[in-house]
């Protein structure tokens, strides 16, 4: 499926924890994992089960970047990434990242980009809330 989301990470569903309204779904991606909270309805509708191949879709505006690893933050996903390119716009900057073999994109403000002094070759951490992750079935 083609979507406008700039981040698509392929993996395998490793766990599904059902809640009252939402389920927590963990997707094994490479050597890491992506956690998503999605509605129970979606889990049922997509007939998700552990072991299924799936992908995580994340809009680039849902990524927060940090230069050092945040230790005490509620976000479930803190991904160690490399900065491949920084493209400054008038207000926002697009930061192209790589996570293992996958590429990722983040949109942050120019101000943040300057403050973090982000540049090509830097190591960084992409922070993503589980509720910002959409799961698609292959």
């Amino acid at each position: 499926m083609l979507t406008s989301a700039r981040n698509t990470l392929y993996g395998t569903i490793t766990s599904i924890t059902p809640g009252a309204v939402h389920s927590e779904v963990t997707l094994g991606v490479g050597t890491g994992a992506i956690v998503a909270t999605i509605t129970n309805e979606s889990v049922t509708r997509l007939e998700m089960k552990v072991g299924d191949p799936a992908y995580a879709l994340i809009k680039s505006s849902s990524l927060i970047l940090a230069k050092t690893k945040p230790q005490r933050i509620s976000a479930r996903n803190v991904l160690h990434v490399n900065v491949n390119e920084v493209i400054k716009g008038a207000v926002n900057a697009e930061v192209k990242l790589s996570l293992g073999d996958a590429t990722m994109n983040a949109i942050i403000t120019n101000d943040s980009c300057d403050e973090l002094m982000l540049k090509k070759g830097d190591e960084a951490y992409a922070i993503i809330k589980a509720s910002s992750v959409i799961i698609g079935m292959v």
Binding site: A20, V35, L65, R76, V91, N92, T109, D111, K129
Partner: protein, 138 residues
């Protein structure tokens, strides 16, 4: 009336126009700086201008909670406060936060995050919100 859980009274102190987005520099009643990134078409349609009082609106699910460390992160909005009440669900927990100046906001984070951060009533925290997750209402 809208469903978004968080609404803070703010003053627009600066409007920075880009070709597509507009960055609004806001000030809460307590003088805390906030930033909202909205589309240029919205800013134009709403005739947003400096010196105007508006409401910064953001969903509870877009709020990250950090204890202690919150520097060196690209998110523009960092609001300090205390945990007022934690309501645990099966997967997610609702955290009522009391900001400096007694304004209340709500964060929805996973139960896992509550356990990992060892969050409890009265804890000092920082609520983190990306500028692009902040809407403006008036």
């Amino acid at each position: 009336m809208i469903s978004a859980g968080n609404q803070l009274d703010v003053l627009i102190s600066e409007v920075l126009y880009g070709p597509v987005s507009v960055l609004l520099i806001l000030q809460t009643k307590q003088g805390v700086r906030m930033v909202a990134s909205v589309s240029k078409s919205s800013a134009t349609a709403m005739r947003l201008r400096e010196g105007e009082r508006v409401i910064a609106v953001f969903q509870a699910s877009h709020v990250l909670v950090a204890t202690g460390w919150a520097m060196g992160i690209s998110a523009r909005n960092k609001l300090s406060g205390r945990v007022h009440r934690i309501t645990m669900g099966v997967v997610n927990a609702e955290i009522d936060l009391l900001l400096e100046g007694m304004e209340r906001i709500v964060a929805v984070i996973t139960n896992e995050a509550v356990a990992e951060l060892r969050l409890k009533d009265g804890d000092e925290i920082v609520a983190i919100i990306k500028a692009s997750d902040v809407m403006i209402a008036k």
